[in-house]
C-alpha cells in the first residue's frame, strides 16, 4: 500500500529515531573501543598513549576476572532456573478456576514494579540482617543460629533477591502463553485418552516453549547487566562481583578507563551473542 509520495514521507519520519539511535550506539561504542587500546588514567596522568591489546590481556588475566565470570554465571543461571520453573508452575496455577484471580495476579506481579534499589535495601536490612532481620527472628524461633546472609551465603542471597524481582515477569508472560493455548486442543487430547500429566507434557509444554525462550533471552540480557542490587547490598564484596560490577569498579573506582573499556568490549560481545539468538526469534515472529 504505498505510493512514491508516502514512501518518501516514511523515510523522513523515520529519520529522527534512526539518527538518534545510531548516534547513541556508535559514538560511545567507538570511544570505548579507542579507550580500550590506550593506557588512560584520568586521575594519574590522563591519556598515556596506545598500548595495543595490553588492556584486553590484563583484564582477562587479572585475578578478579574468572571469579567475576563465575559469579555472573551463577547469578544469571540461578535466577533463570528459579524464575522459569516457578514461573511455569505459578502460571499453571493462576490459569485454574479460582476466586479472586485478579487480586492474586496483582499480588504476584507487584515485585516487578519495585525499583531495584528499594528491593535490594528491603531484603538486605529487613529480611537478611543477621540481628534484626525477619529471617534472623525466624531462625531464632526454631532455635537455630541466625545466618549472616549477605556475607556467608552471598550469592544465593543475591539470586533470591533478583529472582523475587523477575518471577513476576516470567509468570506474566508464561501465563499469557498458557491462556492462548486453544482449549479445544486439550479437549481433543482428553478425548484421545491422554491423562492430565501427559496432556501437560505433550501439549502444554511444547506450546510454552516459545514463551520460555523469550523469557530466557530477555531476562538474560537484563540479568547480565544487574547493577543496583549488588551496588546496594554487598558493593561487590563476598564473591558477588559480577562482570558488570568489575567493569564498573575499574572505570569509576580505580579510574582505569583503558582497562575498564576493554572489559566493556568483552561485555558487549557477550551481550551480542545472546542478542543474536533473541533477534532470530523475534525476527521470525515478524514474518508471521
Amino acid at each position: 500500500m504505498a505510493t512514491q509520495h508516502s514512501r518518501s514521507a516514511a523515510r523522513i519520519m523515520m529519520a529522527p529515531a534512526v539518527v538518534l539511535l545510531l548516534g547513541w550506539m556508535l559514538i560511545p561504542l567507538i570511544m570505548t573501543l579507542i579507550f580500550s587500546f590506550k593506557k588512560y588514567l584520568p586521575m594519574r596522568g590522563g591519556d598515556l598513549g596506545w598500548v595495543g591489546f595490553e588492556n584486553y590481556v590484563r583484564f582477562v588475566s587479572s585475578s578478579a576476572f574468572w571469579p567475576s565470570v563465575s559469579a555472573t554465571l551463577i547469578i544469571v543461571g540461578g535466577v533463570l532456573a528459579i524464575t522459569i520453573v516457578f514461573g511455569i508452575l505459578l502460571a499453571i496455577l493462576l490459569n485454574q478456576p479460582m476466586w479472586g484471580q485478579g487480586v492474586v495476579r496483582i499480588l504476584v506481579i507487584a515485585p516487578f514494579f519495585v525499583m531495584p534499589t528499594v528491593s535490594a535495601l528491603v531484603w538486605k536490612n529487613m529480611f537478611m540482617d543477621p540481628t534484626n532481620g525477619l529471617f534472623a527472628h525466624l531462625w531464632r524461633f526454631f532455635g537455630a543460629e541466625p545466618v549472616s546472609w549477605l556475607s556467608e551465603a552471598s550469592l544465593p542471597s543475591i539470586v533470591l533477591i533478583v529472582s523475587w524481582q523477575w518471577l513476576p515477569f516470567a509468570t506474566l508472560i508464561l501465563l499469557t502463553a498458557i491462556q492462548s493455548l486453544d482449549s479445544e486442543q486439550l479437549e481433543a487430547a482428553e478425548m484421545d485418552g491422554a491423562p492430565p500429566l501427559k496432556r501437560f507434557a505433550f501439549i502444554t509444554l511444547p506450546h510454552l516453549s516459545r514463551a520460555v525462550t523469550i523469557v530466557l533471552l530477555i531476562q538474560t540480557i537484563f540479568l547480565l547487566a544487574i547493577f543496583a542490587e549488588i551496588f546496594v547490598t554487598t558493593g561487590g564484596a563476598f564473591g558477588t562481583r559480577t562482570l558488570t560490577y568489575l567493569i564498573f569498579q575499574r572505570v569509576l573506582e580505580s579510574q582505569n578507563i583503558g582497562l575498564g573499556s576493554a572489559g566493556g568490549v568483552y561485555a558487549i560481545i557477550l551481550a551480542n551473542i545472546v542478542a543474536i539468538f533473541l533477534m532470530r526469534i523475534v525476527g521470525k515472529n515478524l514474518d508471521a
Binding site: R105, V114, P116, M126, L134
Partner: protein
C-alpha cells in the same frame, strides 16, 4: 458429583494461589506495615504484624531529613520527560514501519532493538565524558535524553505492534477523503491508537522510574531521582527499619499503583508482541 469435585478443586486452587500470592507480596506488605511502626516495634522479636500503635512519625522524619519532594520531582521529570520525548520521536517512525513497510523495515526494527542490548557499563565512561564536556553531568536534561534513548527502541516496538493491528484501509480511506499525512496521523491514527499509546507511555514511565544504573552513576545533588534517594539509605540509616520502610513506600507507591493498572499491556510490550 462432577460439580462437587469441581468446587473442591476450586477451593484448593484458591487456597494455593492466595497463599503463594501473599508470600510473593509479603516483602512489600511488610515494608508498608513497618513504615507505620516505631523503630523499636520495627525490630521487635517476635515481630509484630498488625497489633501495634500506628504512627506517621517515620514519614515526618524522612521528609525532614531529606528533600523528598525534590527527589520525587526529579523522578517525575526524568521518567515523564524521557517517555513523552520518546513517544514524540517514535510515533512517526512506527507509522512508517507499520504502514509503509519496505524490505528494510524488519532489519531496521531488529537493529533498533539490538541497541537496547548494549550493556550500559560498556559505555559508561564515554557517556560520563560526554556529559562533562557538554556540562550536563548531574542534570535532569542529561537523564531525560539518556533514558529516552535507552527506551526508544521499546517505544518504537510497542507502537509498531499496536499500529500494525490498525487496518491500513482506514488510513487509505482518510487519504481518499482528502486528509494530508499530518491530518491522517492526527485525526485518524492517533485517536484509534490511544489505548496502545497509553500503555506504551505507562510501561516506559515505569521502566524509566525504576532505572538504576544511569540515575545512580550520573547524578549527585542536583538531579538525583528516587532511586538515588533510596540508595542513600544503604547504610547506616538502613538499620533504622521504620524510616527505611517509610522512604521505600514513598518511592514505590506511585509506580505500584500505575503498574497494576497497566499489567495487561505490560505483557505485549515487554515481549515485543512475540507472545500473544
Amino acid at each position: 458429583m462432577a460439580r462437587s469435585v469441581k468446587t473442591q478443586r476450586k477451593i484448593i486452587n484458591t487456597a494455593a494461589a492466595w497463599g503463594i500470592g501473599l508470600l510473593i507480596f509479603f516483602p512489600i506488605l511488610w515494608t508498608i506495615l513497618t513504615s507505620f511502626k516505631t523503630e523499636a516495634t520495627a525490630i521487635a522479636d517476635p515481630p509484630v504484624f498488625l497489633a501495634f500503635n500506628w504512627t506517621m512519625e517515620n514519614y515526618t522524619a524522612v521528609l525532614e531529613r531529606s528533600n523528598y519532594a525534590k527527589f520525587l520531582w526529579n523522578s517525575i521529570i526524568i521518567a515523564g520527560g524521557s517517555t513523552i520525548l520518546g513517544i514524540i520521536i517514535a510515533v512517526p517512525a512506527a507509522w512508517s514501519m507499520a504502514f509503509v513497510p519496505s524490505r528494510r523495515t524488519k532489519d531496521i526494527l531488529l537493529w533498533m532493538l539490538s541497541t537496547k542490548m548494549l550493556p550500559a557499563v560498556g559505555v559508561l565512561y564515554p557517556i560520563y565524558l560526554i556529559c562533562i564536556k557538554l556540562g550536563i553531568l548531574d542534570s535532569r536534561i542529561a537523564l531525560v535524553i539518556i533514558l529516552m534513548l535507552m527506551n526508544l527502541p521499546i517505544i518504537v516496538w510497542m507502537l509498531y505492534t499496536y499500529f500494525r493491528e490498525i487496518p491500513g484501509e482506514i488510513l487509505e480511506a482518510a487519504r481518499m477523503d482528502g486528509a494530508s499525512l499530518k491530518e491522517e496521523i492526527l485525526y485518524v491514527l492517533t485517536p484509534m491508537a490511544i489505548p496502545g499509546i497509553a500503555s506504551t507511555l505507562l510501561l516506559n514511565f515505569i521502566l524509566a522510574w525504576n532505572e538504576a544504573f544511569w540515575t545512580l552513576n550520573l547524578t549527585a545533588a542536583n538531579a538525583a531521582p528516587l532511586t538515588a534517594f533510596i540508595a542513600s539509605y544503604s547504610s547506616p540509616e538502613g538499620l533504622f527499619f521504620a524510616k527505611l520502610s517509610a522512604a521505600s513506600t514513598m518511592a514505590i507507591a506511585p509506580i505500584l499503583i500505575l503498574g497494576w493498572f497497566s499489567q495487561k499491556q505490560l505483557v505485549s510490550g515487554l515481549t515485543f508482541g512475540a507472545v500473544k
